[in-house]
């Protein structure tokens, strides 16, 4: 009797806590997706036959191949380094890593354009060593992918470093101490204790970043607004969907392509849930 009432209260609490999210999910996720599906009817063929789609998919694929490993390795190594040296230094650095992501919009466009201009950039000598003499040159052809990778890493790394650092600080202290008592060097602790314990978080970073990377939109759009004419407005798949809706007034094709992107994101989400057993609470 008591137990069932507690069950009921528990169920109520679950709904109270989950309710707002469900409302938002339905209002701004499911309902628009369903409406999008309705809008997209009859446009799928046109989208998959569009000559710009192939180029956009290629661009995004190349971007992912370069950006993902760099991002994950950088995030992992910086988070582990910070964890190895806790204290004020780690706190300051976490904030510093987070900063580039805070600069957005037209300010970000100008900032990055200047970063890529050897004459005014603090990284001028580096750009010179790469044979880049101007922003025009840096943005040309596949050089643009390199610029976007740097932008993407700088913008996204900070948030993930905080997440991964959080995961590291939550590691059971006794395990780490036991390893140290057994005579493990900091390197071996990192390699054989910390890394296996945060593996699931790394997988989460990887797959979430994959999903957001396939939808890359902000970085090329930001660059395109200030270096207009130098970058295709349909460089990425998401940009193409946006272009359909806003510049061609074709919401059907925009909806079709957006739903196709949603499918890619869903597959990535399912991978997170089932392959990394992210929601299992018994591990750790």
């Amino acid at each position: 009797m008591r137990k069932s009432r507690r069950d009921q209260a528990g169920r109520l609490a679950v709904w109270v806590l989950v309710g707002p999210y469900v409302v938002f999910l339905v209002a701004f996720g499911l309902a628009p997706a369903a409406f999008g599906l309705w809008t997209s009817l009859g446009s799928w063929g046109e989208v998959f036959g569009d000559y710009r789609l192939g180029a956009a998919v290629r661009n995004v694929a190349l971007y992912l191949v370069l950006w993902l490993p760099v991002l994950v390795l950088l995030v992992l190594s910086l988070a582990l380094t910070l964890h190895a040296r806790p204290g004020r230094f780690a706190g300051v650095m976490r904030f510093v890593y987070y900063l580039p992501g805070a600069v957005t919009g037209s300010a970000a466009a100008l900032l990055w354009l200047f970063m890529m201009s050897p004459d005014v950039s603090p990284f001028g000598p580096l750009l010179g060593a790469l044979g880049i003499g101007s922003a025009s040159q840096a943005l040309q052809g596949d050089g643009l992918i390199g610029v976007l990778v740097v932008m993407g890493v700088a913008i996204h790394a900070g948030g993930w470093i905080v997440v991964l650092y959080g995961a590291l600080t939550a590691l059971p202290r006794d395990v780490l101490e036991a390893a140290a008592v057994d005579g493990a060097t900091p390197w071996r602790i990192t390699r054989h204790v910390k890394l296996p314990l945060v593996r699931r978080y790394v997988a989460f970073v990887l797959i979430s970043s994959f999903a957001s990377g396939t939808q890359v939109f902000v970085e090329p759009t930001v660059l395109e607004t200030s270096a207009r004419g130098q970058i295709s407005p349909t460089w990425s798949v998401n940009q193409l969907a946006y272009f359909y809706a806003t510049q061609e007034g074709d919401f059907g094709r925009a909806a079709a392509l957006s739903l196709a992107m949603l499918a890619v994101g869903l597959v990535a989400a399912l991978l997170v849930i089932y392959k990394t057993r992210f929601y299992r609470t018994d591990a750790v």
Binding site: F28, G29, D50, Y51, R52, L113, F114, S117, P118, D119, V120, G133, S134, A135, S136, Q137, Q140, G141, S212, Q215, V218, T225, A227, R228, G229, Q230, I231, S232, P233, A245, T246, Q247, E248, G249, D250, F251
Partner: protein
């Protein structure tokens, strides 16, 4: 992350609706969208016409902004501005055609139409109907550093052949100095459009003529070939900080570019000392009677199809905005209206920044716009495809002429997917 972004966008949208109110409040209101530069003039008109209940909304000059907003208004069936200024004038071709169907064909008296610089309104005519009034023109001229030209002992070139010869001499005698640059619209618009290369000749709202194999294209490719190879013509965008550095270092001997380069590039970005910059007409081609200009910019005003009974008031307002001499004489760029251009030129003639009065060259350029430069829906690709083909060829050390078929096919693809039949 994306959901957060969507939420922010929605919130901003709601806020902008509440705060500045981009949409109609009452049926009797004349809603006017202009960029920051045009806001003061629009407000002046609103104050002088209190009975019209004009509401002026300032919008960003970003390319694609107006089509985006109109696209949303089309979706909701309300919220269209009655008058809109286009910083990116090619957008009129998007707004006039299906599925936007926003821009109204304008009924403008012949006397008003004829008061514009001849040819200025041509790109606004689509399928035989006038869809916009031109605020300003951006014809290309040959900007040059008068002091450097004198120091080096060069004559300002009158023909493209002379221009090429000077380029080759500069590369030999003064390496590092530039006689031009081509990148995006500054390559396609300055060089190829001035030569008459048909890459965006809008026959109607649904037909366009593209032929990059035309002799007008190949002659420009041949002309630029040695200059690109010896680097007297650069491929850096003139708005690139690296190019501004070259300007500040005094490395720009000549720069064919739009009329606004003097006041908006040479003065603020290149920080050229006063008394150095001068303008000449573009070089002419052998066998042609006069030099022709390309175009890079020049805003237009459009009236909404949904203006209904406010249509007349809207047309009156854009007529005033584009043809009022007192107003236009004070505006920053070259007026499209002839009498205004005269008045504008009088003020500019005494500007001490220039080595010689640039106005005669600007006026001649405005009167010699190369026909066939239309407002098209594939403007963005027109710019980026130039870099993807012609500039990519230059960078790779390949012949420019060899890149033209590739440019042609990209333009054709873009035009076709923008709903044009390519001829």
């Amino acid at each position: 992350m994306r959901r957060v972004m969507a939420g922010i966008v929605l919130l901003l949208g709601l806020l902008s609706m509440v705060a500045c109110g981009g949409t109609h409040k009452g049926s009797g209101e004349l809603l006017v969208w202009v960029d920051n530069t045009r806001t003061a003039a629009a407000k002046q008109y609103a104050a002088a016409h209190k009975d019209l209940n004009i509401r002026v909304v300032t919008m960003p000059p970003d390319a694609g902004y107006v089509p985006t907003k109109v696209s949303l208004a089309n979706k909701t069936g309300k919220g269209w501005p009655d008058v809109v200024f286009l910083t990116n004038p090619a957008e009129v071709s998007t707004l006039a055609a299906a599925p936007f169907d926003y821009a109204a064909p304008l009924e403008i008296p012949a006397s008003v139409r004829d008061s514009f610089t001849p040819g200025a309104l041509d790109p606004c005519v689509l399928g035989g109907r006038l869809y916009c009034l031109r605020n300003d023109l951006a014809p290309t001229v040959l900007w040059y550093d008068a002091k450097l030209m004198k120091d080096f002992g060069y004559e300002v070139p009158k023909t493209w052949a002379q221009y090429q010869q000077i380029g080759e001499r500069v590369a030999r005698e003064h390496p590092g100095y530039l006689i031009g640059t081509m990148n995006g619209k500054y390559g396609a618009g300055v060089y190829f459009a001035s030569s008459g290369c048909p890459t965006r000749q809008a026959v109607s709202l649904t037909e366009v003529h593209i032929n990059a194999a035309d002799q007008a294209c190949t002659r420009m490719a041949d002309l630029l070939q040695p200059l690109a190879a010896d680097k007297s013509v650069s491929t850096i965008s003139p708005t690139d900080p690296a190019f501004a550095k070259l300007g500040q270092d005094g490395k720009i001997l000549m720069l064919p570019g739009p009329a606004w380069f003097g006041d908006f590039i040479f003065k603020p970005a290149f920080k050229l000392p006063p008394g150095r910059l001068a303008a000449a007409p573009m070089p002419a081609w052998d066998g042609e009677d006069k030099p022709y200009s390309g175009q890079v910019g020049g805003g237009v005003f459009v009236v909404s199809k949904h203006a209904g009974e406010r249509t007349k008031a809207a047309v009156d307002m854009i007529t005033w905005m584009t043809t009022d001499v007192a107003l236009q004489a004070k505006q920053p760029t070259f007026p499209a209206h002839q009498a205004s251009a005269e008045a504008w030129g009088k003020a500019k003639a005494s500007d001490g920044f220039y080595a010689a009065d640039p106005v005669p060259a600007l006026k001649q350029a405005a009167a010699s716009l190369r026909p066939g430069f239309g407002f098209v829906r594939y403007e963005a690709v027109w710019q980026s495809s130039f870099n993807e083909t012609v500039i990519a060829a230059v960078t790779a050390g390949k012949p420019i002429a060899g890149a033209l078929p590739d440019w042609q096919s990209r333009l054709t693809q873009a035009a076709t997917s923008a709903g044009y039949t390519v001829k």
